[in-house]
């Protein structure tokens, strides 16, 4: 018999004591490399451990994202925490449970198959034995590698998994307790702001220190290394005031601000690019009807509600960093490069921040604090970015052009599909070779990372969901990886999936219309995938979808579907909306199949969030450039980068298809594409004309109506 294959994170971190411990009678401690970013992952991990260890959830405490304690699971990203991290946790706990049952069998001198566990106590043929995890813990060595031989619970025996469980982290947030990294206060701590280098290569010309000190109204000090300039002091208000004054009183040289023309997707067409081709061989074009459409989306900000924050202390040769970033181990590796310390001299702890939705300023704020702390040994440093700083300097998700070329058969169905994409990279995380912002201002800045995007094996970046899941004889995608951009670009929820699904699912509607078919029936005619058909049929039933319902009178309905990365969770959405000069969302229905569901209410919460955020992107969001603003970024606060408000959110109904025998899949990103495309299709249904550029602003709606 072959040895069992360990889930990836467990293979990478095989020592069982890295995952599970029994620190005191009645208590279980588990460790995960995944971190809480508002998605409820810690609660789901505790549910998983409760089932696999047979203990009550309230016995379990969880630690996460800590280079000194937890498994190294890279990034908490890509909707993979449950699919990979959760499955690893299940297996680690199953192995631990098996070791304890073996030990109990020895102590009780009976066969292990007579034993079971109930809330941590060992039972023999259902009767208590006086033994439990804690009586046996001294004799069971968990400093051993996982073997994968522990049997994971069959679906029928799951008790906690599959039940809606209240989020463990929410009460502290509802009662206003100190729970976020922003709330940490260390003895002797100094507050700090970095006077941001506008971009790589810009250098400090002149600093009017006296003017800055005057503005602070309390003592502050400066720390400088090359073009890295920080202002710090023990009074947060004074440091804030000084940072605002520094906008005026620090003069930069060699500054080149982005211009308005560069914010538009079409600007990408003129840029140098690395061309990448994936999928089927070039098609024979003869005798087929051609269909071509071009869709675009602008730059987006993560726009996390809290500006990024990081703390660091360098004491006795050891650097300790606190961060809300998505990957403490990759951040540590990046700090090793930046600071010249050994990895063993750096500990990085995760502390919760606000929702990040991808690579925002978190890593950079931590690096800022670390760079300053290295210059002031023994002093804890807290860097909390300003609101404008987060908007201007966080990495943006890139603008994209998606051009669909399809060849149609006689019935108007696509038989050959090419999706051609112009997009800068979607990944400049530190762990992907991207630079920490502060490092660029230091005397010997690191080189530019080579042109790169998320590999196809990991779902692709700009190419994510670039091919329809539908049954089309030949599919390929071409990515012009644009290598020159005016601003830093990186990962935002779903990466390229949103613009790709928006383009391809709007095209499917356009094709259905050409063929005189109903959009739901047309989609079903293009796929034999049972799980795909199930979510499409389910959402149509939920929404009371009627084939041939007339639109064009200002109210419209649209449907869209995707399987995230074409290999993870399935989702279909129906949107109902009104359009006059602006769009008013009325209702969104969504059906999702994410395999085995760990926490149904948690999944629904995530799906709702994904729908609302995508709706906000589609209706409102675009980062605008303007070189008359010093930074060149004209979207620098909530007035210049508005997001969806309470009075603008639609009603949402969600149903889950719980495929219990399938792998559990993440859902944070699955609705981004289907929501966007369903809105696009509903707007077209309502107006009788199609808008192919996001966001769907008032100006674009008016222009589209006038064109008709």
């Amino acid at each position: 018999m072959n040895a069992p294959v360990l889930p990836g994170p467990l293979k990478d971190n095989p020592r069982l004591d890295r995952w599970v411990a029994f620190p005191a009678p009645g208590q279980v401690a588990i460790n995960t490399g995944r971190v809480e970013i508002g998605q409820g992952v810690l609660t789901a991990m505790v549910q998983i451990a409760a089932d696999e260890l047979d203990v009550a959830m309230n016995r379990i405490s969880i630690r996460s994202g800590d280079t000194a304690l937890t498994p190294n699971e890279g990034y908490t990203a890509g909707s993979q925490s449950i699919q990979f991290g959760g499955v690893a946790m299940r297996q680690a706990c199953a192995d631990v449970r098996a070791l304890f049952l073996d030990q109990a069998a020895k102590v009780l001198a009976c066969p292990a198959n007579e034993l079971s566990i109930r809330d941590g106590s060992i039972l023999r043929k259902g009767v208590t034995t006086g033994q439990d995890y804690w009586t046996l813990a001294g004799a069971v060595d968990l400093k051993v590698n996982a073997t994968g031989s522990g049997t994971r619970k069959p679906v029928t025996e799951l008790k906690s998994i599959g039940q809606s469980s209240a989020r463990l982290d929410l009460p502290a947030k509802i009662f206003g307790q100190a729970t976020f990294i922003h709330d940490m206060r260390l003895d002797g701590m100094l507050h700090a702001h970095v006077v941001r280098q506008p971009h790589r290569g810009a250098s400090i010309g002149a600093i009017d220190e006296r003017a800055i000190l005057r503005a602070a109204k309390a003592p502050v000090q400066f720390v400088r290394s090359g073009s890295f300039l920080a202002i710090l002091g023990d009074d947060e208000t004074a440091v804030d005031l000084a940072a605002v004054a520094a906008d005026t009183h620090v003069k930069w040289q060699n500054v080149e601000a982005p211009t308005a023309i560069q914010q538009e997707a079409n600007w990408l067409l003129q840029r140098p690019a690395v061309d990448r081709v994936f999928g089927a061989e070039p098609a024979d074009l003869k005798g087929r009807e051609r269909f071509e459409r071009t869709y675009t989306r602008g730059y987006l900000a993560h726009a996390s509600i809290s500006p990024s924050c990081g703390l660091a202390e360098f004491r006795d040769g050891h650097l300790t960093v606190w961060t809300h970033c998505q990957g403490v181990f990759p951040l540590r590796a990046a700090l090793v490069k930046t600071l010249g310390l050994e990895a063993s001299a750096i500990t990085v702890h995760h502390v919760q921040g606000s929702g990040c939705y991808g690579h925002n300023g978190a890593d950079d704020a931590a690096a800022d604090a670390a760079i300053i702390a290295m210059q002031l040994p023994g002093k804890p440093i807290r860097v909390r970015w300003r609101r404008e700083e987060e908007f201007i300097y966080e990495p943006k998700t890139p603008t994209m052009i998606v051009k669909v070329h399809a060849l149609l058969d006689d019935a108007g169905k696509p038989v050959d599909w090419t999706q051609e994409i112009w997009s800068p990279t979607h990944n400049q995380r530190p762990g992907a070779g991207g630079n920490l912002l502060g490092a660029l201002a230091l005397p010997n800045p690191p080189p530019e990372p080579p042109p790169n995007d998320v590999p196809e094996s990991n779902g692709g970046g700009a190419t994510r969901n670039a091919e329809p899941l539908y049954d089309i004889a030949a599919k390929r995608h071409i990515h012009h990886l644009v290598t020159e951009t005016p601003i830093r670009t990186s990962a935002l929820r779903g990466l390229g999936a949103m613009p790709n699904v928006f383009a391809l699912e709007c095209c499917i509607d356009e094709l259905a219309e050409r063929a005189g078919a109903d959009p739901v029936a047309y989609r079903l005619s293009l796929t034999a995938d049972k799980r795909a058909r199930a979510v499409i049929e389910k959402v149509a039933a939920m929404a009371g979808w009627k084939a041939g319902e007339p639109g064009g009178a200002g109210r419209g309905r649209g449907i869209a579907f995707a399987r995230y990365k074409n290999r993870a969770a399935y989702a279909a959405c129906v949107v109902e909306l009104d359009v006059d000069e602006e769009i008013r969302l009325r209702h969104v229905w969504c059906a999702t199949d994410a395999g085995l569901v760990i926490n149904p209410d948690g999944v629904i919460n995530q799906l709702e969030g994904g729908i609302i955020q995508s709706a906000s992107w589609v209706l409102k969001e675009q980062v605008r450039f303007d070189n008359s603003v010093a930074s060149g970024i004209a979207s620098f606060d909530w007035e210049t980068y508005p997001v969806l408000k309470f009075s603008e959110v639609p009603e949402i109904d969600i149903e889950l298809i719980n495929s219990k025998d399938e792998v559990p899949l993440g859902v944070g990103e699955v609705t981004a594409g289907p929501t966007a495309a369903a809105i696009g299709n509903a707007v077209s249904h309502a107006l009788g004309t199609r808008i192919r550029d996001l966001p769907l602003t008032r100006e674009r709606i008016m222009a589209s109506l006038l064109k008709d």
Partner: protein, 161 residues
């Protein structure tokens, strides 16, 4: 010149001595009084994370100079309830699992309290309008509005913290 400012926070008298009378109330709450529940979101009075009640009126305090609140009564999220004695709004937010990252919730719950103090039976549209000054980026809006409706019903039925 150091000046002393007196006001109340959650019913308790507070006196702070400061050199800078422009210091925002938010920084006093967090750095001088250790009340971390009122969050910093923008410092621009835009996002609502720092909403507190000032003499019963919901106001953003991230840019509210301390001199302007002298003699006033401030209520923060910590003044509503505790885990052992939750305010009906807090209980309803837990019951509805109304939040994702939770960073916006303190300000939202305080804004909702101000609404319910004034209007015990708000419609969904009135709740939305009352919360439009608070930004939630995670998309928990519908749960939050359901929680406010639920708390309103509880309060009408006489439930208190």
């Amino acid at each position: 010149m150091t000046q002393t400012f007196k006001f109340t926070v959650n019913g308790k008298p507070v006196s702070v001595a400061l050199d800078n009378e422009e210091t925002p109330l938010l920084n006093i709450l967090r750095n001088e009084l250790g009340l971390m529940g009122t969050r910093f979101g923008c410092g621009l009075e835009q996002c609502g994370c720092c909403t507190v009640l000032i003499d019963g009126v919901p106001e953003k305090c991230c840019a509210k100079p301390v001199w302007s609140v002298a003699g006033k009564a401030i209520v923060t999220i910590e003044g509503l309830g505790t885990p052992s004695r939750p305010h009906p709004l807090q209980q309803a937010f837990i019951d509805e699992q109304a939040g994702q990252c939770g960073y916006c919730l303190s300000g939202i719950i305080v804004s909702a309290k101000a609404l319910l103090d004034k209007n015990p039976s708000p419609t969904r549209a009135q709740i939305a309008q009352a919360l439009d000054d608070n930004i939630c980026r995670c998309g928990s809006h519908n749960r939050i509005m359901r929680a406010v409706e639920k708390a309103a019903a509880q309060l009408r039925a006489g439930v208190r913290a």
